[in-house]
Each structure stands twice: as C-alpha cells, then as structure tokens.
C-alpha cells in the first residue's frame, strides 16, 4: 500500500467511524428530551426508565465520539499538512465556533448525566435539550467546513497564493446550507431507524414490552419524519452538485456523454472503458428534467472533464445508488409506520411489522456512509475542489501504512467493544428497570 492510498484510507476510516458517533450524539439527546418530557408530564415510569437507559448509552457514544473527534483534529495535520497550511486560515471559522459548541455541549452533558435528582427538574431537562442543540450546531458548522472543500469561496487564488481571505464568506459558501440540511436530516433518519430497530427486536422477543414500546414510538416518529424529508433535501443537494461540481454529478450518475434528454440511471454496472452503463434501468429525460427542470436541456457528462480531473466513476456511482435506494426504502417503511400510527394500530404488535423495522436497523447508517463516499470520492482528485489536488496535500512522512493499520486495529476493536457494551446495556434492562408495567397499553 503506498503512502498516499494509506493516508486516504486512514482519513476515510477515521471519518467513517466518527460520523456514526456524531450522528448519535446529535440526535439521541432529542429522543431523551422527548421521553424525559413525557415522564415529567405523565409520571409514567416507563419513560423515566427509557430516559435513563438512553442517557447511559449516550454517555458511551459521546465519549467515543469526543475522542474520535479529537483524533480527527490532529489527523487533518498528520495526514494533510499542506492542505491545512493553506486551508486552515480560510475554512477555520466554523471550527473555531465549533469549539464553543463542543464546550457547551460537554458542560451541558455534565449537568445532565450527573444531575439526576440534584437540580430543578426542568433545569435538568433543559440541560439535556442544550446537549442536543449544541450537537446539531457543531454538526452544521463542521459540515460547512466540508462544503467549503466542495465549493471553495472566501479567497482569491492567484499564482498559487491564497489572497484576500474572508473567513465568513468561506463559512457561508454556496454549499453549506444544502449539505448541512441534508446531513442533519440524515442523522435523524439514521439514528431513528437504528434505535427503533433495536427496540422493535426487543418487542418481538417480548421483553419488557412497555419499556421498549415507549422507546420504539419516540424513535420511530423521528425516523419516519426524517425519512420523508430526506429525498426532498437530497434533490436540493443534487441540484447544487450539478451547478458547482459537474464532474461529481456525472460520476454519481455514471453519465459519460454530454447530451440533452439525459436519462436517470438506476443501478447498472458502469464500464469506464467503453463509456457505457450495462444492465441499468434508464428513465428517459428524467435526469435533465430533475437538474434543469426541462427534459430537453443538456447535462454535462464526463467527456467535458479532463481525464486527470475525473473522479472514480464506479465507486461514486455505486455509493450514490446505495444511498438513494436505501432512502427510498426508508421512506416506504416510514409510510407503513405512519399507517400503523394513525390507522391500523394493531400492526404495532404484529411480528411482520416489527421485522420490517428490525430489517431497517442499519439502513440509515449505511446510507450515511454511502453519502459521504459520494461527497468525498466524488470530489477527487481534488482536496479543495478545483484548487488543490489531494496528492499534493499529503504528508511527506513515509510509512503511513503502519499508521493506517494501527488505526484500523484500534477502531475495529473499539467498534466491537461499543457494540458489546450496548448489548449488555440492553440485556440489563429487565434487571435494572424491573418495575411493574404501569400502563402496558401506553
């Protein structure tokens, strides 16, 4: 493995790891706050138990998210010193604001986790809400930094020099809104389906049904709402990509030849040599229509992009298909969930219904990883789109592959331990929270 590939793989691994924890860190506090609120309002013990159980899980995830984030803030320099040397002062604004958000989040979490029965009930509840709000804020800020890499602004690039730096303009680059919106909704969808799936499994096993049903309802409602919003915001993202990064869009769609009436390609195996896509479903004119609003208008294909500036087509295309496919699936399951909540309430106890949600447990997170693959691989060969090549940014230090192996070992071990702890947390539910089910019909 050469150093460049190792550095890219290590970056992808670390971010792919961190993003799972940050999604959970952004979203779980809101689930907790809802359940906590229901407990304070109704006095139903199930909600109190759910809140406490979730808050233990959140503590584990938060710590893992915090250390993996700390690692990232060093890794940017360890792996991409040339990038950071030039980009740091330009796209640093969101990171410096993020520091504040993290700090407040850590403080609020201290109050929340250790403050049970020590503070005014509503103050305690509010600190939980603060954890969520600051989490979302840091998510939005850091995504704004990433979208700057996709649509750089706030400086003039003259003869290899970065002049007239304007950090505010860099932060509010053209992509920040569509990307941050899409990411936040994705976090809700991914975490919502994951949590709902786990509790559905426990309901299917008929363990502490009152407890798990309360958890399932809260998480499923968030998941369903997010699943419906996600494709809408994805459409906004795609239109933005078409405008700012035609090469990425062409790779996502495996769209080789610039043309009018461009079809939307679903699935298929791109053949980069022959410049065609085999075995795909093609919806005539739909891509042109989606991007430009008119099926007769042209969409830039890879033939207009210099070969040395083209991103890897196959990976980007597959990742995009996976994300969109899972998005559609999650929306369909969401529709069934809505029907169950509003009309056919008996479904909520039927095994097939629970199994549907169990099957969807990992879907959101797979979509998140796929989505980031689209964004990051689709930007290649650029680290700053159109300005700096990834290959020029990498550290001169040799032997990065050993660092990559080390990080892989650590992250794999940590993932296993976290899953193991989560399982123990869930196993302990009957022991720790074995209260009579006050209201099984909840």
């Amino acid at each position: 493995m050469d150093d460049f590939l190792a550095a890219r793989s290590q970056m992808a691994l670390s971010l792919g790891f961190h993003i799972i924890f940050s999604c959970i860190g952004m979203v779980m506090p809101f689930f907790m706050a809802v359940s906590h609120y229901l407990w304070l309002r109704t006095g139903n013990e199930n909600y109190k138990n759910v809140t406490k159980a979730w808050s233990k899980g959140v503590a584990i995830f938060f710590a893992t998210g915090a250390v993996s984030g700390t690692v990232l803030s060093f890794e940017l320099g360890l792996l991409w010193p040339t990038f950071m040397k030039h980009a740091g002062p330009i796209f640093g604004m969101p990171f410096s604001l993020e520091g504040t958000a993290f700090f407040i989040e850590a403080i609020a979490l201290g109050f929340y986790l250790y403050g049970w029965d020590k503070f005014n009930r509503w103050f305690h509840w509010l600190t939980g809400v603060m954890v969520g709000i600051t989490g979302i804020a840091s998510g939005i800020l850091v995504v704004a930094a990433n979208s700057w890499m996709n649509s750089p602004s706030g400086f003039d690039f003259v003869n290899g020099q970065y002049l007239n730096i304007d950090p505010m303009k860099a932060m509010f680059n053209q992509g920040w809104f569509s990307q941050a919106l899409h990411m936040c909704i994705a976090a809700f969808a991914a975490t919502g389906f994951a949590v709902a799936g786990i509790h559905a499994l426990m309901m299917l096993r008929k363990q502490n049904v009152g407890f798990h049903k309360a958890s399932f309802k809260i998480s499923a409602v968030f998941a369903i709402v997010a699943a419906f919003l996600q494709p809408l915001s994805g459409d906004i993202s795609a239109k933005f990509v078409a405008k700012s990064q035609p090469a990425k869009l062409a790779a996502m769609e495996a769209h080789f030849k610039t043309d009018t009436h461009v079809p939307l390609i679903i699935g298929g195996i791109p053949d980069t040599k022959k410049q065609e896509v085999n075995y795909a479903i093609k919806l005539p004119g739909v891509l042109s229509w989606m991007i430009t609003g008119d099926p007769a208008k042209p969409v830039t294909g890879l033939d207009r992009i210099l070969v040395k500036d083209q991103p890897p087509v196959a990976v980007t295309h597959y990742a995009f298909q996976i994300m969109v496919g899972l998005g559609m699936m999650m929306m369909a399951i969401g529709a069934i969930g809505l029907a169950a909540f509003f009309k056919w309430r008996q479904w909520l106890h039927q095994p097939w219904f629970l199994k549907l949600f169990i099957a969807a447990t990992p879907a959101g997170f797979i979509a998140v990883e796929a989505g980031w693959t689209v964004t990051e691989v689709g930007r290649q060969p650029w680290i700053i789109n159109g300005v700096m090549r990834t290959a020029d940014a990498v550290t001169p230090m040799p032997g990065i592959q050993y660092s990559f192996y080390l990080f892989t070992a650590v992250y794999v071990t940590l993932s296993i331990v976290v899953v193991f702890l989560l399982k123990r947390q869930i196993q302990m539910v009957p022991v720790i929270y074995d209260k009579p089910q006050l209201n099984p019909a909840l």
């Binding site: 710590a63 320099g77 010193p81 730096i165 040799p398 650590v410």
Partner: protein
C-alpha cells in the same frame, strides 16, 4: 492587537489543559501507583470528583489545537509532519483513556472486563501526558530537522532523546501531584486524606528528580534551559513565585487547609509555564538549522485572526459562566452528599 488576544487564549487553554486535564490524567496515574487493594476507593473518589467535568477538562486541548490550526497553520503543519509519531502515540493514549474511563463507569455489568478497562485507563493516563510533555519539549529543543534526509533523523531522533523524555516524565509527576492535592480535598475521612497527601509527596519528590535529569540532559544537549529560566527578570520572578507557591502548598496542607493548597498548586504550575514560555517568545518552535517559527510572524492573515479572536471572545462569554456554574454546583452538591454518608 487581536493577535495578542488569540495568543493569550492559546496560552490559557494550554495552562488550563495542563491543570484540569492534568489532574484528570493524574487520577489515573495515582491509581497505577496504588496497591491493587486500595484502588477501588480511589476509583470511586476520582469518579465522583471528576465525572461531571471530565469531558469539559479535555475540551481545552481541542480549543488549543483549533487555535493553532486556524491561527498558526505553519506551526501546525510543521509540527504535524515532524512529530507525527509522538502525536500518534498521544492520540492512541487519548482514545484509550477517554473510552476506558467511560466504559468502566458505564458498563452495566460488573465482571472481569472491568479489570481490563482499569488497566487500559491507568496506562493510558500515564502515556498521554508523557507524550504531551515530549511533544512540547521537542518543539523548543531545537532538534526538529527540516532538512533531514533519512527517516530516523527526520521523524524519530528529534523527540526520542533524553531531554524530551525527562520533560515527559516530569509532566507525568506534575499531573500526579496535582491530582493527589485535588483529591485530598475531596475525601471526608482523614485516613484517606493522608493517603492522598502521601501520594502528593511522592509525586513531588519524583518530579524533583526528573527536574534534575531534565537540566542535566538539557545542558548535555546544548539546550539553553538554564539561561531561559534564570536569565531574565520575568522568568526569575516567575521562578520565585513558583517556589513560594510550592512552599505555600505544603504549608496549607499541613495546616489542614487542603482546598486552599489547590490554589497554590495551580499558581505554581502557572508560574512554571510563564517561566518557560516567556524567554523564547514569540518563537514556539525551534529548528535544528537555527531557524524558528515565531507565532507573531507565522500567524494567519489578519482577517482570520480577527475572526478567530472574536469567536474566542464570544465563546468565552458563554463558556466561562457555564463552566464555573458546573464546577461550583457539583462541588456544592458533593459536600451535601458527603454529609449524608
């Protein structure tokens, strides 16, 4: 002007990380040096005292790193390249310690896994401050070789030598004694209290030992440490304050005013940091070829520094009151709980 504000924030974040993060690591170091049988009590005390604020304690490091990479990108990228290996080891320590601390306090089942978490927690509490010390010492030791042509002299020999190693060990002992002094004020019984005070003494003794090693290795390697620490008025004043604070710390401990002694211990660390950082300011990285990186000359463009300064000032308006309230309210609640026991 704004540049100085940013530098002040950087300096304070480093100091606060040394104090608060340091005490936090120190608790793990003490556990490592405690006999197996006595560890359970220490673990409980440390968790009770540190639990609510430990996440916040480690935020200072992130703030410092962000200030460096936004405000002083040349420093950040140079150090990241040449100290890649110690930085990676430190990161491993941070990962291990943060997760093990949480796992051992939040794992719902109590079984033999906890022995593993405890082990990892203790060793990583030792390794992380050790390497932080090594990294800081290397930066100013004038051994970073930007013209190196072979791997060892470019990436290993700059940090793997006696001076950084002894600074690392000194940092470890400093953290340990901070933790011992802090925790001595957190326990109700006088037996337990004296156990911590004995630990603080041992740590102080070891720190002195490593201080000697540190001066010897500095003079052998031609690092003008002696001149830095004693060759200018500011450092001299700071040294005097540090020595006086150390004396006051122990005086207060023997007067049984352990909580007051914390203040002096903090003052001592602060004066030490002034004493070492002043003489080579504004150069924070010294190179082998005689060059140096000055944080005044290698700062980001003024638009960035202004934005960063405003962000930091605005942030502290939110953070400081909340943090003080957090520490204060849990300190108060803790004394209430203690009375219940």
């Amino acid at each position: 002007m704004m540049l100085y504000i940013v530098i002040a924030f950087l300096w304070w974040s480093i100091l606060l990380y040394l104090l608060m993060g340091g005490a936090d690591y120190g608790a793990g170091i003490l556990e490592l040096l405690t006999r197996e049988g006595n560890r359970a009590g220490l673990k409980k005390t440390a968790y009770r005292a540190i639990g609510p604020i430990w996440e916040a304690n480690h935020m200072w490091l992130i703030i410092a790193v962000v200030i460096i990479f936004v405000g002083f990108p040349d420093v950040y990228s140079l150090v990241s390249v040449h100290l890649h290996i110690p930085l990676t080891i430190m990161l491993m320590g941070i990962i291990a310690r943060g997760t093990a601390f949480t796992f051992r306090n939040y794992d719902a089942v109590h079984d033999s896994w906890h022995r593993l978490y405890d082990r990892i927690y203790m060793y990583s509490s030792f390794i992380t401050p050790m390497f932080l010390g090594i990294i800081a010492a290397t930066a100013i030791s004038g051994r970073i070789d930007t013209d190196a042509t072979d791997f060892p002299s470019g990436y290993i020999l700059n940090w793997f030598n006696w001076f950084p190693l002894s600074v690392g060990l000194f940092t470890v002992c400093l953290c340990g004694s901070l933790a011992a002094i802090f925790l001595a004020g957190e326990v109700p019984g006088s037996d337990e209290k004296w156990r911590f005070i004995r630990k603080a003494k041992q740590m102080n003794g070891l720190a002195t030992l490593f201080m000697v090693l540190l001066f010897v290795s500095a003079s052998l390697q031609g690092i003008p440490l002696f001149r830095w620490l004693f060759g200018n008025v500011i450092s001299l004043i700071a040294d005097v304050i540090a020595a006086a604070s150390l004396a006051m710390t122990w005086y207060m401990i023997y007067q049984s005013r352990v909580k007051t002694s914390r203040f002096y211990a903090g003052l001592m660390v602060m004066s030490l940091l002034i004493s070492v950082s002043y003489p080579h300011f504004p150069n924070i990285v010294l190179l082998k070829n005689g060059g140096s990186l000055s944080i005044l000359d290698h700062a980001a463009p003024s638009a960035t520094i202004n934005a960063l300064g405003i962000a930091l000032l605005a942030g502290s308006v939110f953070i400081l009151p909340a943090l003080v309230y957090l520490i204060w309210s849990f300190a108060k609640k803790r004394s209430v709980v203690d009375e219940d026991h």
